[in-house]
């Protein structure tokens, strides 16, 4: 079978297009690279969507943590402690089992004038259930990063804002928030890389791969189990992730330069890649 044919069959296998069955013979390099690459679609989907929603949630968490009101601060502190203090792997299991326990027919919410039925079945699927966990998890880690940056905003910047009569929402939008982003960005870059790496855990942690639609590592372990040869499939995953990491670094580096465009050239710090490993 030619490589083009393999690509047509398995290029979009992870989202349900192409051949129905996974390859049962051959297991050549082309087959492995194509199928594992198709699995990367899931990793990209999980990483990008979780980072997007997590970003907004993290801003809320950071502001709540810095708030003087204990009713806001305490829940935010507990949220961060629980999601940063426990393994993501356990969180996946825990949420999955909770979602499974939800009634299959949905939950009825009486609104007085009408009753709406909230469907819950979709939460046990990986695309939604794992996404909830990843969003909350990245929100906790990112919230902590943003909180640290918020506390590191130079006092002079705030005093200058006061002197100009910029207060309240205006001060936050024009002074505090941009500075917070600028200070937090290098650490946030690492968090983003780390988030993409964490997406490989999804299909190893309770969430079933429906019709064998899984992520890159899912297919890699499939090949490793079939061929008893870890020296091909895993290096392919590793290569894909190295490329992904480089892409993330260059994209975030562009944003970092944009955030720093007003800072004098010689005092700019460079974006450094210091990965964390696991959560």
């Amino acid at each position: 079978m030619s490589c083009a044919q393999t690509f047509a069959d398995y290029g979009l296998r992870s989202i349900g297009y192409g051949a129905r069955l996974l390859p049962k013979e051959g297991y050549d390099l082309c087959q492995q690279a194509v199928l594992i690459g198709s699995g990367m679609i899931w990793n990209l989907y999980f990483g990008i969507v979780a980072l997007f929603f997590g970003f907004f949630l993290a801003n809320a968490v950071a502001l709540a943590r810095a708030s003087g009101n204990p009713w806001l601060r305490k829940p935010a502190e507990w949220f961060v402690f629980i999601f940063r203090g426990s393994p993501l792997f356990i969180q996946f299991f825990m949420f999955y089992e909770t979602f499974v326990l939800l009634p299959r027919v949905g939950i009825d919410i009486p609104l007085g004038f009408a009753t709406i039925t909230v469907e819950t079945g979709w939460l046990t699927k990986a695309w939604a259930g794992a996404m909830v966990v990843l969003c909350l998890n990245t929100a906790a880690y990112t919230g902590e990063i943003f909180y640290g940056a918020l506390r590191a905003i130079p006092k002079g910047d705030l005093e200058a804002a006061d002197a100009y009569g910029i207060t309240g929402w205006n001060r936050f939008r024009r002074i505090v928030w941009p500075t917070m982003m600028r200070l937090a960005w290098p650490a946030y870059t690492n968090e983003a890389i780390f988030m993409f790496h964490a997406t490989t855990l999804v299909f190893f942690s309770g969430f079933p791969a429906f019709q064998q639609k899984g992520d890159a590592l899912y297919y890699a372990s499939y090949f490793a189990a079939k061929t008893f040869n870890p020296f091909v499939a895993y290096p392919i995953v590793a290569a894909y992730f190295v490329v992904l990491t480089v892409l993330v670094i260059s994209l975030f580096g562009m944003i970092f330069r944009h955030l720093n465009r007003h800072v004098p050239q010689n005092t700019r710090s460079r974006l450094k890649y210091r990965p964390q490993i696991i959560r």
């Binding site: 297991y27 629980i82 993501l88 299991f93 089992e97 790496h197 590592l217 890699a220 040869n229 696991i278």
Partner: protein, 294 residues
């Protein structure tokens, strides 16, 4: 375990739970917490030693050794660690079996990789297929520990390498001026002062190591995740003397609390350790302590 548990159907409330939680399988579950702690206890020093070696190699004057150190520390970056956890045990297992195969069965002519199979002669199997079950368990655990140590050693090497560079140059130059040899400077000045710079990074690494332990489950070890899934699943009256519904979520809640407790405890221990190490150091924390003592 208790004699009062002989007839589970007659039990009520608290005594039912006491009996339920002390069945043979639950004792294995409790024992698997020991497995996790053992993994931490073995991996942490080995990874630290590997990291120290890696950092030394990366500083070495000998070029090949330096490259080896650099490659080792760079190896784990950019790739999800779970890939290494899946890769290293299989690769090690096949490597060891291959070596034993070459030694024990020199007249075996068939190829080892037959299509999609990995075949070595029966005498080279690790552990032997006739070995008792516990040997297989221990072997799998040892492979897991090696995988953890290699991955975390690379990160520790990174941290320690940075810490060695962070020791103020003036300290080393003073040692030189007093006529110490490079070896003496290293042992008496660099290493004792390095730890305070390495500690924040190593603390972080320890927290990450704690949170990586559930991955033992992925490696097929009967750890706490395995037992939580096994015991929590719903049990019917026929299959078990203690029938219950789907309790996995409660089991995982216990695991969550276990990990949160471990994290909290480690935070407290490291805070104390940091205070002790800062004593008399040329850092901000050390200076504050000196002023407070006066």
């Amino acid at each position: 375990m208790f004699s009062s548990c002989a007839d589970p159907k007659a039990l009520e409330g608290l005594s039912w739970f006491l009996c339920y939680l002390t069945t043979g399988k639950h004792l294995l579950f409790l024992g698997s917490f020991g497995t996790v702690l053992l993994l931490l206890a073995v991996t942490a020093p080995v990874a630290l030693a590997l990291g120290f070696g890696g950092a030394l190699a990366a500083r070495s004057a000998l070029a090949p050794l330096r490259w080896l150190g650099r490659v080792y520390t760079a190896m784990v970056r950019g790739v999800p660690d779970i890939v290494f956890f899946l890769f290293v045990p299989i690769a090690l297992d096949q490597g060891l079996e291959y070596l034993r195969h070459r030694v024990k069965c020199p007249d075996w002519t068939e190829p080892i990789r037959k299509g999609s199979d990995f075949v070595v002669c029966p005498a080279a199997k690790l552990p032997l297929s006739s070995a008792p079950e516990w040997e297989h368990q221990v072997y799998a655990f040892v492979l897991a520990v090696i995988a953890f140590a290699i991955v975390f050693g690379a990160f520790a090497a990174n941290v320690i390498h940075g810490a060695m560079n962070a020791v103020p140059k003036a300290q080393l130059e003073t040692a030189d001026a007093y006529g110490m040899t490079p070896r003496q400077t290293f042992r008496r000045i660099l290493v004792p002062q390095m730890w305070v710079y390495a500690l924040p990074g190593l603390t972080n690494l320890w927290m990450i190591l704690i949170k990586a332990t559930p991955l033992l489950f992925v490696l097929g070890i009967e750890d706490i995740v395995y037992w939580a899934r096994e015991l929590g699943g719903s049990k019917t009256t026929g299959a078990s003397a203690y029938p219950h519904g789907d309790w996995r979520v409660y089991y995982f809640f216990v695991l969550l609390c276990f990990y949160l407790g471990m994290t909290r405890l480690s935070e407290m221990v490291f805070a104390r350790l940091y205070r002790r190490l800062s004593h008399g150091q040329a850092t901000l924390a050390g200076e504050q302590m000196r002023k407070a003592d006066k």
